[in-house]
Structure formats: C-alpha cells, structure tokens
Amino acid sequence: MRRQTTRIRTFVAAAMLAGFAGTAALPALAQQSAPPTTTPTTAPNPTADSVNEDMLFKQGPKIGGRISIPDQKAANLIQPQGREWRGFHETWMPWIGAAAILGMVALLGLFYFTRGRIRMEHSEESGRKILRFNGFERFTHWMTATCFIILALSGLNYIFGKRLLMPVIGPDAFATLSQWAKYAHVYLAWPFMLGIVFMFVVWLRDNIPNRIDLQWIKAGGGFIGKGHPHAERFNAGQKVVFWMVAGFGTAMGVTGLMMLFPFAATDINGMQIMQGIHSLIGVAFIAAILAHIYIGSLGMEGAYDAMGSGKVDLAWARAHHDLWVEKEQARTASGPQLRTHHAPAE
C-alpha cells in the first residue's frame, strides 16, 4: 500500500515538472513570433482611462480607496452626506425641536386654563393613606428623572445653546458651560439607561394592556372625561407613558451608544442617521415628559404624593385606581378598609 502511494507521488511530481517546463517555454515562443512594432490595442491607456469624481459618484454615494496609514477609516475620501446631515441638523432640527416643545407647553397651558387643575374629590376615606410606590420604585423614578432633566437640558443645548444662550453670556462662558453639559450628557446617560432598565423590570407586570384599558379610553380617562372609569394600578394613560419611556429610552440609549463609541457598530453615515434619530426622539421624549410632569404635579391634585412620599390619599386612589385599591387591600389586608370585598382566590 505504502509502496503504491510513493509511486503515485513520484509520478505526479514528474508530471508537474514537465508541465512547468512546457509553460515556461511558451512565452519565449510567443515573444519570438510576435511582430515587434505594433502596440497592444487592448491594453488600458494609463492616462486617459483615469478614474474621476463624477464616475465614482455614479457607482456609489461615497468615494473611498486604499490608505497606507494605520487609520483605515481615513480611506474614505469624500462623503457628501455630511452636507445633508448639516442641512437636517441646522435647518430642520431647531424648528422641529421648538415646535415639539413649545407646542406641548402651549397645549398644556391651554389645558390648564380651560380645564384647570383636576381637584381631589373628597369622600369618607379622605385623609387615610395607602402606599402606592415603595422606596425602590421612588428611588428608580427619581434617579431616572434627575438624569432625564439634565440630559434634556444639555441635549437641547446642542441645538439651541448657540442660538439663545451664547449671545447672552458670551462665547467663553458658553463654551465652558457646554463642556460641562457635554460631560454631564455623556456620563449621566449611564444611570439613565440603568433607570430605564429598572423601571421596565419593576413596572412591566402592571403595564400589560388589557380590556379595562379600552373601556378607560372609551370613557375618556381621568384626564379628559368627567367620571372615573375603572383602572388597575396603572390606567391606560399611564401605560402609554410607561411604554413610551421604555421605547424612547431604549432608542435613545442605542443611538447614544453608537455615538459614544464611534465606528464600533456603524460607519460615518450610520452615525449621522443615529444622531438624527437621537435628536428627533429626544425632542419628542422631552415633549411627552412635559405632559407627564404636568399631570403628576400641577395638573392633578393628589397625584404628586405617589412619587413624593409614596403614599396617596385613599379617596384619590379609590377614584383613580379602584381595582388596584381593591386588590391591594385584599392582598395585604393592612391598609385602611372600609368596604368589605370578596377576596379573590390566590
């Protein structure tokens, strides 16, 4: 067996040698037989066939090539998309941002002056308290909220700072302020993202949409309508806020990380798109949270206590979250109980 393979190997080697000799001899023959004076017509003309900008832009939106320095990102020669991003950021974004935020402020102002503050309705349960949010829930909320406010202000500074603040305080003071704002934006993004995760985990269970929400919306909710439709721990409006925060928070986190770690996941055009999404969702997020702040403080009497002390007035809780109060009282049997209910089997 071994002997046979050795023989085959020798044969193959011999055949290869013969082949090499043959191919080596061919060009020599060709050179001898070719006419010496004619120039090759099929070979490319090194001067006239050069690449040019228009041709390369027809092949793709960017022009890039090979580069001999270690920074391979520099191999990108021209990306005219930078001008498009600039057009978006400087012509559209200030107007979109102003419209979203001032529009929401105007809307809330209009609501306040027509509907007024939603007052607490008193009942025989007034004055008694029920725990709505425990210490961890409040900590998570306020950690995220504090970060959000600073992130929102420092984020708006990127768009409006040079237009509104810089003429007032001068370029040097504004640059110092913006530098700190930028550090705050970059570093507070981390506790903010952590807060989004915490809030999602803690409140997900109570925010699954169900049939009660449909009826709540049909009845116009507590915000617009007159009565108090049934609601569990969170009504449909609050569930919308929860899912908005979870969705927008995730989007802001992902797009922000793309910019914090340049070229980690996207190229330059990807980062331009990420910045566009980040700023558009950012102003929408700010507008939505303005409404959340309004209803949780000025807009509704008794609502702030839920996140302030954590304990809300039982009359308020019964009016706004009747199903939750019933469940809570049945579960803990510790809160103040007036009516007797059939405790659901657990």
């Binding site: 890039g64 580069i67 400087e90 340049p262």
Partner: protein, 198 residues
C-alpha cells in the same frame, strides 16, 4: 485678499506620502491624527489614481455650521480655522465634514474625545501669530511668515497645489490642456460648489 484653496492633481500624485509626513513633522501633530492623508482609488486597477486630501477649507463650511459652540471662524484668506479653547469635542464637525478632516486625540473614552484637530492651512489658530501657545495648539503658522502650506510647497511632483483658488485652477487648466487629460479637481464640487472647467 486671496481665496485660499487646495487642488490635488491626481494625474501627478505618486502616493509618496511626503505631504503626510511633512505635515506631521511641521506641526508636531499628535500620534493617531493625520491632518493630511493620501487615498488611492481603484488601487491596482487600470486608471488608478491617488489623491492627497486634508481639510478643503470649504465655502460655507459644514463644520462651522453644525458646531454647537461656534468655535470655527474663517480668516480673510478664506481659511477655515477653529478655537481649541471653545471646542467641546462633541464630534458634530466630524459627522458633517465631507472630507473626514476633523479628528480627535481620543476615539472612545465615553465620547470624551478631547479637542478637535484638523488642517489649519498652515495658518495657526486664534492666538497671536507665531506665538508659542499658537504653535503648541495648532502647529506652525507659515501663512503669517508669508509662506504657503508645507505639504504643497514640498510636493515632489507638484501634484498638490495650494494658493489662491483662481491661480491654482489656472495652473491646473494649463496642465490639462498641454497633456490632454485630467481626472479633475477632487473635492471641489463638494467643497466649493464649483469645478475647474477646461
């Protein structure tokens, strides 16, 4: 006053990278930053060309427009410069620049990129001309000495031209007419919204 521009005659550029090296040495540019670079297009194929590229000192510069702290300014020679004292290292100019000119001492580090650095057209920065502080932040100021950017001055094939836009366009036009071909003034359409008509 002149309207300073760069023009790279790609039919002459031999990708020797001397402009890159000269720039780094003249301005003591930090490690990792290249104010000028040479990109080879269609490498190894027929019609291959190399283009030396840096900040083009655009007309209506996108970097200056998007800067959130307005740290850019344009000199009387139409050179686009910036103040490293005002720069916050946000990266916007890098997104906006069509030529990848703005660079930062650090890439990641949670986005604390440090102060942006780019080609100054050998014209320094906002500090007093030819001062030590200007040199430390922006490199040498050859324009203040009456000299043109070193990259173009020492280009061995005179592929890279620097100077008044009309003058260098004229030189390029004459070359193209004489030799009968030219791959165009790279980046001019994007930077200056015009091209060298021949």
């Amino acid at each position: 006053m002149a309207r300073m521009k760069f023009l790279c005659d790609a039919d002459r550029c031999i990708e020797c990278n001397a402009c890159v090296t000269a720039c780094k040495n003249e301005h003591e540019v930090p490690w990792g930053i290249n104010r000028r670079r040479v990109v080879t297009l269609n490498d190894g194929k027929p019609g291959e060309r190399s283009v030396s590229m840096a900040c083009m000192h655009c007309t209506d510069a996108p970097c200056a427009s998007v800067c959130p702290v307005n740290c850019f300014y344009t000199t009387a020679d139409a050179v686009v410069l910036h103040s490293k004292d005002l720069c916050i290292g946000c990266g916007y100019c890098f997104y906006a620049c069509p030529f990848g000119a703005p660079q930062y001492p650090r890439v990641g580090n949670f986005g604390s990129r440090g102060k942006m650095d780019k080609c100054t057209y050998c014209a320094g920065g906002p500090e007093p001309d030819l001062s030590t502080i200007e040199y430390e932040k922006y490199g040498s100021n050859r324009l203040a000495e009456g000299k043109l950017p070193l990259c173009a001055e020492m280009c061995s094939t005179k592929a890279l031209l620097a100077g008044d836009g009309e003058m260098i366009a004229q030189i390029y036009k004459e070359r193209v007419i004489k030799r009968g071909y030219g791959s165009g003034a790279w980046g001019w359409k994007t930077a200056y919204r015009e091209t060298v008509a021949i």
